[in-house]
Symmetry: C2
Subunit: 271 residues, 2 copies
């Protein structure tokens, strides 16, 4: 049986042109308006991996959400800009009926063995088995595809907070061995930090998102279907946008760091 994530990230080449792949939004990954950004990022990674000229493994992905993505078909246009000895640069766009709705760039790289160190440290956390899973509001479809166990900064509860940190155990639901597409999606598993600061749901959406994939395919295979420890925080909120910096951990192994810039409507609350 095909996992719902694999259904959602499926692409087919358009004609004989290896530069264009057709995808389709999946109702299971719907967000409040349009598809969940994480699944779109995952589909881009999956498309790049399918390209006949791809070199190595994903190293970085930037995706800009330019206009609302409508439910239905979309086309991924891939441009392999340059292949160097150890890395490869791509630019891409997502189009619907001729209109560009997302743009971005990606770097793939050959895995080289070098001096290495994980300098950052994972947040402290009791084991996933000791934390109760929680759900987001019923109308946030995509969140149902994740088992989410919050250690701090859990679901919106009507209370304002000074700290926008969320730390949670997260994995695909049903369980699925982690890979680059699912990691790309998980990097967007945090609800907008502004919800936490104000204790309420409010209009907000990612403008631009960048993920650096530190993990190798081998490390992801070793991780398997375990929960990932994910933590996110915003640095500055103002003028209708904020940033979010997040880390995704497998034990002591930092799988990915990811950053996004998020739009929000003024909550009209006292400063």
């Amino acid at each position: 049986m095909t996992h719902v994530l694999d259904e959602a990230i499926a692409l087919t080449p358009v004609g004989s042109d290896s530069r264009v792949f057709r995808a389709q939004t999946h109702p299971a990954y719907a967000n409040m308006v349009g598809p969940f950004g994480g699944i779109t990022a995952a589909t881009v990674i999956h498309g790049l991996q399918q390209h006949p000229d791809v070199l190595g493994e994903p190293l970085s992905l930037t995706i800009n959400f330019v206009a609302p993505i409508a439910y239905g078909e979309w086309d991924l246009h891939l441009d392999p800009v340059r292949t160097n000895r150890t890395n490869q640069h791509w630019v891409f766009s997502i189009r619907q009926e001729g209109v560009t709705v997302a743009t971005g760039s990606a770097v793939f790289a050959v895995i080289r063995d070098t001096w290495a160190d994980v300098e950052a440290a994972p947040p402290e956390a009791v084991p996933a088995a000791e934390v109760e899973p929680t759900d987001f509001l019923d109308f946030i479809a995509w969140a149902k595809n994740y088992d989410k166990r919050f250690l701090v900064g859990g679901i919106v509860d009507g209370e304002t907070a000074d700290d926008s940190t969320s730390t949670l155990w997260v994995r695909d639901q049903p369980e699925r061995p982690i890979d680059f597409p699912s990691l790309a999606s998980m990097a967007d598993c945090f609800f907008p930090r502004i919800f936490l600061r104000h204790g309420v749901y409010m209009p907000a959406g990612t403008i631009s998102m960048t993920t650096y994939f530190h993990a190798t395919a081998e490390e992801l295979a070793a991780h398997g279907t375990d929960h990932v420890l994910a933590t996110a925080r915003g640095s500055r909120f103002g003028h209708g946008h904020f940033d979010q910096f997040a880390e995704l951990w497998s034990g002591e192994t930092l799988l990915a760091t990811t950053h996004q810039l998020v739009y929000y409507k003024d909550p009209k609350v006292p400063a």
Copy 2:
């Protein structure tokens, strides 16, 4: 007299096509191989600001260094993908003799007054006046255009370190009121974190860099020519690359957060 940074970021439209601007590398901002990435980012921001259709102020910039940029002329190709009510999405490429040497995307936005908070805190630092300026090696030309006063993680001294953090006071030299191009450049003022870990200079270069501009033009004007407090750290080193996360502060105001992915050659030292 024109400031050296303004000389370095100068662009002229190519013909009557507002989508192409010609720039030229400046010897004062040379790096070990090719121009300093920060000045290239600054020139892109400057080019976008000059475009007749530009909306608002810079909000985010991603630049991918695809191939070495040769000293001499380069062309900036700008594509205004979409203008929404409050933001505007751009993609761009940098070409030399028909070859793409850099790609990227940018978001500009109209400044809206909303609820706001700076959640992060600046690093502790004694005043800039109490710290001695230091210089990088003589052959790193660009660094001479910055007054750099390190609080931690200063210049490479032959000692290895477990912590890749650098915190410094930095400003243009000679003094110049800060603006978006100079902030974009300053966001790249940190030498590669791998130097600090190994205590030696070694081949390394930025692959991809993203800056989120939290500051408004008004805040930058208020900052003027003062030193900016800048801090950077890497999270994970391995397989020939590492990430860097940095913040640029004006007092309690977070001007920018910036992330980059950096390539390095294996230092061939025991792990």
